[in-house]
């Protein structure tokens, strides 16, 4: 137990994030816990509005401070070098500390490579700026280093002097990745990195991230709604629904032996390519409730097929059940009380 606690890189415990809007409070993240170990890929999967992006953004404290508040929970991050553990949930949102971590120890790539690169500077200049922000280098050295990074993401050399609009979507995502990795972060947060891309380009980026991860030995938090991408990239998976992590485990456990009714429903509702028998899809009924609704207890009970049949009222407070090592499920059906 003790050794396990030693090796984590990032550990989120019971994170709760609320947004205050004109129409009311949006409980974007209600209860999210996950652990990322060095060098591994953690997949965070869920439908729109499940809070996966908010969780990721709160790690870097990128949320708007005016409307958004981390209500409780902790985000423990182990720093490079001295192994010091700090709680990112408590640091100043725009302070010195978080800025020294952003882009340096934790980097991020976004869904829209067009909007995350500035249109008025060349790709090279933007990478050089990112490098110089955290490292003391001469401009010439920085430029050489930037060229090296571009080479690492398999972009042609002359891209360094191109403006982003001249690049295709896939090239821009590569340039973004080069920028994000320029300071050798120990954690890369990839927020839907392939959603805006075509399948063949998506495949390129996935392969790229995999090979860079091996070279640089960094951990990746892969956020996506695409179960296929998760299955191909992640070592561990956390499934989120309405701000809660409902199930987490190794990728094998989640895909081969899903337990939570939501996970089972998700996997049953996607058409499998190349399957011999063509079956009717089995969707999850209903749709994700409005973010303003407050749901006590199990968030999935409004759509859960078991809820009515088994008569679980779903209002009990849920504790995670560890059904096998590292496989956690938040569902009353698996808790001892329900048996």
């Amino acid at each position: 137990m003790n050794t396990e606690r030693e090796k984590y890189l990032l550990k989120i415990n019971n994170l709760k994030v609320h947004f205050h809007t004109l129409e009311g409070t949006v409980r974007a993240v209600e209860d999210a816990s996950l652990t990322i170990e060095p060098g591994m890929t953690m997949g965070l999967v869920g439908e729109s509005g499940c809070g996966k992006s908010v969780t990721a953004h709160s790690i870097l404290r990128l949320l708007p401070t005016r409307t958004c508040q981390i209500k409780s929970g902790e985000i423990l991050f182990r720093r490079q070098g001295n192994n010091e553990v700090i709680d990112l949930a408590k640091v100043e949102p725009d302070g010195e500390l978080i800025r020294s971590i952003r882009g340096h120890e934790i980097a991020m790539v976004f869904q829209e490579p067009m909007t995350s690169l500035s249109p008025v500077f060349t790709v090279g200049n933007q990478i050089i700026e990112a490098i110089m922000l955290h490292r003391r280098l001469q401009p010439q050295e920085a430029r050489e280093y930037a060229a090296e990074m571009l080479k690492a993401v398999a972009l042609p050399e002359d891209v360094i002097d191109e403006y982003p609009y001249r690049l295709s979507g896939g090239q821009r995502q590569r340039a973004m990745t080069a920028m994000a990795l320029s300071c050798h972060p120990s954690l890369l947060i990839a927020d839907e990195p392939t959603t805006a891309l075509d399948v063949t380009t998506q495949a390129q980026i996935i392969e790229l991230l995999k090979s860079l991860q091996q070279q640089l030995h960094m951990a990746i938090l892969m956020i996506t709604h695409n179960l296929g991408v998760i299955a191909e990239t992640a070592d561990r998976v956390a499934v989120m629904y309405l701000g809660r992590v409902v199930e987490s485990g190794t990728v094998k456990q989640i895909f081969d032996n899903p337990l939570h009714p939501y996970t089972i429903g998700l996997l049953k509702s996607i058409p499998r390519m190349g399957s011999e028998t063509k079956k009717r899809l089995a969707p999850i009924p209903g749709s994700v409730p409005d973010p303003l609704t407050v749901i006590e207890g199990c968030a999935f009970r409004l759509r859960c097929p078991v809820c009515k049949q088994k008569g679980c009222d779903g209002k009990d407070v849920l504790d995670a059940v560890e059904t096998e090592p590292e496989h956690f499920v938040h569902c009353l059906l698996y808790s001892k009380r329900a048996r």
Binding site: V199, I206, E207, M273, P285, D290
Partner: protein
């Protein structure tokens, strides 16, 4: 590709070039070849899937068939009252009549519904335009349509923002069906939806097809969705169809290198399976200046010299399986079955 007794829509050599204007006098300096000599036909009550990556011309294709854009060349024959009518030679009145028979469903249910109109007004709009129903009868008709797509009658007077993405797409489907069309062009109808809702809409589309005998042209970039819903699938690359075949056949036995690479690039939900992935080199060429010869040769690992100069002809490698590649019969390409063997 040959005509058949119950073919309802048949497209022949459809071409659409958009002029590129430059300068003060807006001189035409070139053409974007969005759709280039596309031919296919769909049988009544069936679904033809069209897959391709963004910019391959699949959306333009649908819009040209509906005369939202005027075609550059080619013809589109639609079976109307037992006769094959060329859509592209219809006049204003004929076109309005055609709209009752061919309708479209859009990708983004946010943008395809006017946020300032109620559900009655949205679904009833086509009925109003054609003077089919108004007032109380309109409400009755719209209620029937709502029921058909699985929404409740209480929703009649609400605005689109009161609905989730899936419900909005149901409303859009109801609108498309209001005129009782025979053919529905579905342009990425589930791409903007959440995974769990996607399945609901796919099931709904299948049910409606069985109930009303609809014919679908199902356009998507998602190979697994297209495989699930279509009997036949056409693969588009840079404005042209490169391969068209019954869907099982196409996924198992692709004969065009581009199809093979698409299949290998699509992530599958089998964790731990090691696949040898074909990573296409380079980028999609500029459609204003497509490469000569076979359009795919710049990224094709099997390309030889004659690919760079001569455009390949169509070949039927097995019944109903048409490929546009010089080496359609000689290459041994990997389909879905042979890909996952490295387990």
């Amino acid at each position: 590709m040959t005509g058949d007794g119950d073919v309802i829509l048949s497209v022949k050599n459809l071409t659409k070039h958009f002029p590129i204007h430059r300068g003060f006098l807006r001189r035409v300096v070139g053409h974007v070849q969005a759709v280039n000599k596309v031919s296919f036909s769909v049988k009544k009550g069936r679904t033809l899937g069209i897959v391709g990556e963004s910019g391959c011309g699949k959306t333009t294709l649908a819009r040209v068939i509906l005369r939202a854009y005027e075609p550059t060349a080619g013809e589109a024959l639609f079976k109307w009252n037992g006769e094959m009518v060329n859509i592209f030679s219809l006049g204003k009145q004929g076109l309005k009549g055609l709209r009752r028979n061919i309708q479209m469903i859009f990708q983004d249910p946010l943008s395809s519904l006017n946020p300032r109109k109620t559900v009655v007004e949205i679904i009833g709009e086509p009925l109003l335009i054609h003077g089919i129903a108004h007032g109380r009868e309109l409400k009755v008709r719209v209620s029937e349509l709502l029921e058909l797509v699985g929404l409740s009658v209480q929703h009649l007077d609400r605005y689109p923002n009161a609905f989730s993405g899936g419900q909005r797409q149901r409303i859009a489907i109801a609108r498309a069906l209001a005129l009782r069309p025979q053919v529905v062009l579905c342009d990425e109808p589930v791409s903007a939806l959440d995974v769990s809702v996607q399945a609901q809409i796919i099931n709904l589309l299948e049910d409606l097809q069985n109930e009303l005998g609809l014919t679908y042209l199902f356009i998507s970039h998602d190979l697994s969705v297209v495989e699930h819903i279509s009997e036949r699938v056409a693969v588009m690359y840079l404005g042209s169809i490169v391969e068209i075949a019954p869907s099982r056949e196409l996924y198992k036995n692709p004969r065009h290198p581009y199809t093979e690479s698409l299949l290998s690039a699509t992530p599958i939900i089998e964790p731990g399976t090691q696949r040898k992935r074909i990573i296409l080199p380079g980028e999609i060429p500029n459609p204003a200046d497509p490469p000569p010869g076979c359009r795919f040769h710049t990224r094709c690992s099997y390309a030889r010299d004659n690919c760079k100069t001569t455009a390949p002809a169509w070949e039927e490698t097995s019944p109903q399986h048409w490929v546009s590649c010089h080496f359609a019969r000689t290459l041994s390409l990997r389909g879905m079955d042979t890909q996952a063997v490295f387990g």
